[in-house]
């Protein structure tokens, strides 16, 4: 037992166990919750779950690649908050222009993260904490430290986001489409594969001719963009934005990625896993509500699941000294 704890179960579990564990957990959870309270399977509840899952998924898309490389993005939540404020402010007047602006802001912020990390050689932990602070402050300044309601709730963009195609809300569709596009890049292009090489061993990647900085900057830029879009999705659910709205999503995005099975040490996992992680988190949260678990207790459960998931996926043979 002590041996398992020391090595990190990730080093010992067979590949098959590690690969299927998240899916098994997911199925088990659906079963447990469904049996406890079949109201879980009601149409309206399922939409709620999927909406929640897509929100978590959007926030975690870029984070997946960042973690795959072996780094971390702590600015996700603040970027989402800042963009929720900006979007709520501008969407009524600018319409689709506001959406475009958000995407550009996300890319700019992510690019900033990437450059600070690679050019200034500041560890991603610190770099993104720093830039995150900038986004947080901007969120407060732009919103004047208050909630920003969407002026014209009926405007085309908001209506589009709220609409449904074949019972599926557009917001979910958008997220899944983006996920699918990124998945294709990750699994089927040289660039995507290089993420895994870098995450596995930077020295070996360098000596194999991979231009590491380039891919790191890309991952952070994408993470900025998906964090920004998370802000948009948040506004689409409650029709207003606020400077703290997205903050919890930093930790949630990391939790989703880790729960899906992507190792914090990098090199293993990916967007497929993150999808599972998002579903697990969403069902966990919704399930606990449906079952009637005390709200405060829910945080304890979530935290415990995160620790368990990390313990199972971490491969300590890859971390020389645990920091």
């Amino acid at each position: 037992m002590a041996h398992i704890l020391k090595q990190g179960a990730g080093a010992l579990l067979g590949g098959t166990v590690k690969r299927t564990a998240p899916v098994v957990v997911l199925l088990m959870m659906i079963a447990v919750v469904g049996i406890w309270n079949p109201a879980f399977f009601q149409g309206s509840n399922l939409i709620t779950v999927l909406t929640l899952a897509s929100l978590l998924l959007m926030a975690s898309l870029g984070q997946t690649w960042v973690i795959l490389l072996g780094s971390i993005d702590l600015s996700v939540g603040y970027m989402a908050s800042m963009c929720s404020v900006i979007f709520a402010l501008l969407v009524s007047d600018w319409g689709y222009g506001a959406l475009l602006l958000i995407v550009l802001i996300g890319i700019a912020g992510g690019l900033l993260n990437g450059l600070v990390y690679t050019m200034l050689r500041i560890p991603s932990f610190i770099a993104t904490l720093g830039t995150g602070g900038i986004f947080l402050s901007l969120a407060y300044v732009i919103s004047n430290a208050s909630t920003v309601a969407v002026a014209d709730v009926g405007n085309p963009v908001m209506r589009l986001l709220g609409r449904e195609f074949l019972y599926v809300p557009v917001s979910i569709g958008l997220t899944v489409l983006l996920w699918a596009a990124m998945l294709a890049y990750q699994n089927f292009t040289p660039g995507g594969k290089k993420l895994y090489y870098i995450g596995t061993s930077e020295p070996a990647a360098w000596l194999s001719g991979i231009r590491i900085n380039r891919h790191k900057i890309l991952a952070f830029t994408v993470s900025g963009m998906t964090a920004a879009l998370t802000g948009v999705l948040l506004v689409s659910t409650i029709y207003n934005g606020s400077p703290n709205l997205g903050d919890p999503y930093t930790l949630k995005s990391i939790a989703v990625v880790v729960m899906g099975g992507t190792a914090l040490t990098g090199g293993v996992g990916g967007l497929g896993r993150t999808m599972i992680g998002a579903l697990i988190m969403a069902i966990l949260s919704n399930g606990m509500n449906v079952v009637g678990v005390n709200v405060y207790f829910q945080n304890i459960v979530t935290g415990a699941v995160i620790v368990l998931a990390a313990m199972l996926s971490l491969d300590r043979s890859k971390i020389p000294m645990l920091k």
């Binding site: 292009t189 596995t200 000596l207 194999s208 001719g209």
Partner: protein, 504 residues
């Protein structure tokens, strides 16, 4: 003169994956005697010392200290018996002061009521500095001090530790003179001689004349065993060199009959390549189908030369030309694009992607070439991997196997496959057969011969001079960062190992 036996190591066996480092080695250390421990790289002397000081545990044999059987599980346990080593790479903590380093880990000896008595500590510290004739101050930060001072500090620390235990110390000095100038070497030798009677001292060095000047007895290691133990006064440098080598070159093993004469065409030209502090003014040519070996002692700069040519180490001066075209040496990917491959010494961390499968390892340099319109299905990589597994006879059940599950030899084959699958013109190999068993070595030699037949120019450094001589057409000798000599190694007239060792 030699007194009682302090440590007795008998029949020590140590195995690493793929090799036997020590095969029944013996060593007796007496008080009042300075032993010079000699042997080629890989002969086993470093491993023997690591076991002595508790850094490694033996797989067989026994060790007696003061007549009692012991088994050290850590260097601290060995220190408790007063056995310590001054390492070649510094063991001091550079950001701490001299005072802090001297008593690191032993501060409890100066405590009074739970608090450290700094006055007493400083007093003892000054005594140590005096004993070692050092002029630095206790509050100096170690990283500001020259390497020679740091080394003397480490020796002083060991001597002090031995004094407080009351037991005669066994001190191993691992290549202490590489960082010292001639005055400092003399000073060191004086100090060592002055403590000779109180301790058992082992001195490791490649500078054979130095060894003869200082030591009382010479012990030579070869192929994992101690093969000679003789008084220094009976020996000369030439005699020691003969003992270190031993057997005839096995021409069959190195496939010397397959060695071909290189063509006249110059593939790679290195011109006055310099990296300050590592090597200077290196110039040589590599021809089509030629295998050239770089030989030199530790610190000669040969590994750095190879990395610089590959673009992994930026040169301060000089050029590298491939077929006459000047190369941009900023990054490895630029060299790879032109057709240069590099197999690093550190297979585990730099050579292979341990947690990825064979297919991934084979295709890493070929991704863009295999992809069509940015699209690269997994199938292609797997197919390519299967081809190479077969071609190189890699012992793996499928291309899905993680490379870390393969033996050292098979891992190396996979690493080579990725270069063979690209269209390389030059292949640089840094200790390619390290940690690989005999059978796999032979297969790799065959691979290299085939590669040379196809016209690839090969530059390498091997684990033993025999390997260097056996495989190459030519040897380039590096000494202290300079190219001092070129030795031809044609198939019909191979130089003897002795001849080469004399040039180093």
């Amino acid at each position: 003169m030699a007194h009682e036996v302090l440590v007795s190591m008998r029949n020590i066996v140590k195995r690493y994956p793929g090799t036997v480092a020590l095969d029944g080695a013996n060593l007796e250390i007496r008080r009042g005697e300075i032993i010079g421990l000699l042997g080629e790289n890989g002969a086993g002397k470093s491993t023997m010392m690591k076991i002595l000081v508790g850094y490694e545990t033996p797989d067989g044999g026994e060790m007696l200290v003061g007549g009692k059987k012991v088994q050290f599980r850590s260097t601290r346990e060995a220190m408790a018996y007063n056995i310590g080593m001054v390492y070649q790479d510094q063991a001091l903590l550079p950001n701490l002061t001299v005072l802090q380093n001297l008593f690191l880990g032993y501060e409890h000896l100066f405590t009074r009521g739970g608090f450290i008595d700094h006055r007493k500590m400083k007093q003892t510290g000054r005594e140590i500095l005096d004993m070692m004739r050092l002029h630095c101050s206790l509050s100096d930060e170690v990283e500001a001090l020259p390497l020679s001072t740091r080394e003397l500090l480490e020796i002083g620390r060991l001597l002090w530790l031995s004094e407080i235990s009351g037991r005669p110390p066994v001190i191993v000095l691992d290549e202490p003179t590489t960082v010292l100038d001639s005055n400092e070497i003399r000073q060191l030798f004086d100090i060592v001689r002055s403590i000779r009677d109180k301790a058992g001292i082992i001195f490791i060095s490649h500078h054979l004349q130095e060894v003869l000047d200082l030591v009382d007895r010479v012990v030579v290691f070869r192929d994992g065993r101690d093969i000679a133990s003789l008084p220094a006064r009976d020996l000369t440098v030439a005699k020691i060199q003969e003992m270190m080598i031993g057997r005839e070159l096995n021409t069959e093993y190195y496939l010397v009959d397959k060695q071909r004469e290189p063509s006249e065409r110059v593939v790679l030209e290195v011109k006055q390549l310099t990296v300050h502090g590592k090597f200077q003014d290196i110039s040589f040519q590599l021809r089509e189908g030629e295998i050239v070996s770089l030989v030199g002692l530790d610190g000669s700069g040969k590994e750095e030369v190879c990395r610089a040519i590959f673009g992994a180490l930026k040169p301060d001066q000089g050029d590298v030309l491939l077929f006459g075209k000047r190369l941009n040496l900023k990054r490895p990917d630029l060299a790879i694009r032109e057709g240069i491959g590099y197999v690093p010494q550190n297979r585990r961390e730099e050579g292979a992607f341990q947690h990825l499968d064979i297919a991934a390892n084979v295709t890493v340099t070929l991704l863009e070439k295999l992809a069509k319109l940015m699209f690269l299905p997994r199938k292609k990589g797997l197919q390519l991997a299967r081809e190479w597994i077969e071609k190189l006879r890699v012992r793996a059940s499928s291309p899905h196997m993680l490379i870390r599950q393969l033996s050292g030899g098979n891992q190396q084959k996979v690493i080579l496959a990725k270069w063979l699958a690209s269209d390389i013109k030059v292949l640089i190999l840094d200790h390619p057969t390290r940690g690989i068993d005999v059978g796999a070595k032979e297969e790799i030699y065959r691979l290299l011969r085939n590669l040379a037949d196809q016209g690839v120019a090969i530059l390498m450094m091997c684990d033993s001079l025999e390997e260097d001589i056996g495989l190459s057409n030519r040897l380039l000798v590096l000494k202290d960062g300079r190219l001092t000599q070129e030795i031809d190694s044609p198939a019909d007239r191979k130089p003897s190992v002795l001849e080469v060792i004399r040039a180093l």
